[in-house]
């Protein structure tokens, strides 16, 4: 689990005064990268260790339940929720003053160039490393 707080600033918002929605996805990606770095990983180390391009998003689903405004402090709680063979799920919950505003579910994989194509690798080795790091 990783938690961070984003003070929503002027430039994050659109002419309606609300967060321009792709920014939430940008922050969710940051939060995921922070999960990795809290466990001693980053995209560079993943590239080297697994001869990979890095982790990447295969699917994302996000719901916007309440508006987030310029001046709000947005708290994002992210976790790796589950693992399957070639992907893992990351969840994000973003709240302001304890009120859930945005949630997202990302399905991510570990990708590498093999025979000129980007392929999703077996994630067993990275899973072991990530879980070991947390225990």
């Amino acid at each position: 689990m990783h938690q961070m707080t984003i003070p929503v600033t002027f430039g994050d918002c659109d002419p309606a005064g609300l967060v321009f929605y792709p920014n939430f996805l940008r922050w969710f990606d940051t939060s995921f990268q922070n999960i990795l770095s809290a466990r001693g990983f980053d995209q560079r180390r993943i590239q080297e260790r697994f001869d990979a391009v890095g982790t990447g998003v295969m699917d994302v689903k996000s719901s916007f339940r309440a508006p987030v405004r310029y001046g709000d402090d947005l708290t994002i709680v992210s976790r790796i929720a589950s693992y399957s063979n070639r992907s893992f799920e990351v969840t994000h919950e973003a709240s302001v003053d304890g009120r859930l505003c945005v949630e997202a579910l990302e399905i991510r994989g570990l990708f590498a160039m093999r025979d000129g194509r980007l392929k999703a690798l077996d994630i067993t080795p990275i899973k072991a490393l990530l879980e070991h790091a947390t225990s």
Copy 2:
């Protein structure tokens, strides 16, 4: 239906040389705004006409099927796929050289401040205007 082509540039891509994924959502939003403007609408006119904050995304689902790289020409085809009472669906398909790379489904609503809260309005009037504009 609206189509546009984005020449993917250096700054759109991450250290893996692939499009940083929130940028796709940014382009999908641009493409949706272009649907509106092709019909004579923009967020300002919507605000005035409906005493609204504007249209906003309630849910988004996106799948990343193939990598998009620096130097690719990304063609995005977007359409308003369906309407219900308080929302409408917008689909986006992004391809490179005819190969589908990313798709998305957004559920959008028309929002207004009523009694101090953001509420989804009945979209019948905007639907009529948008459909009239296209016929």
Copy 3:
């Protein structure tokens, strides 16, 4: 003076693995907005108080002395350096591990719509409020 630290993340960087340079300007803007909010101001309050559109940048000059990379912690120190009649200067210094990497000088004004045009207002009143707030 305002100081903040940005952990440079994957999505802030370009395919060369270095911060995509407009992001520095984005962070400098955030840092300036933080100067305001530390003094009890934000763009909304400025709009209301001065019947203004807000503060805006008239000129910016920035020098990039050393590369900033994915994984770096970037510390930004910003201050309002001086005031003249219709503008004020904001300086930003961004360092990694004590090494100055980027600096910038922004000339900002307080803008309002008057007779259908955006005009730079006399900044004496905002100067008084900002200085009072810090003393």
Copy 4:
């Protein structure tokens, strides 16, 4: 010389309804990359050809003369204005309806890792190639 037109969209603008200023620098970078690609170059080819990290900005100076708004069509004209030993100057002029709104001068270099440090290379070879490409 390279010219492009950006239809300014909703998400490019801040709560004041004006373009959030770092976006101009983002577009200027795109316009510079387009100068390169019009001459058959991109950052990847530059990396390979010169064993370089790529071109990068050393200094930028930009003036914001008139506001640019959501819905404006922004025309950007960019050119490589001059070359010196280890840098070259790129100018950008951005106008709406023929009215100059933003201008910028970038000093750029060609950078490579040499002995563990980023160094500005002699640009004579790239100058020859760029000038040859245009003639």
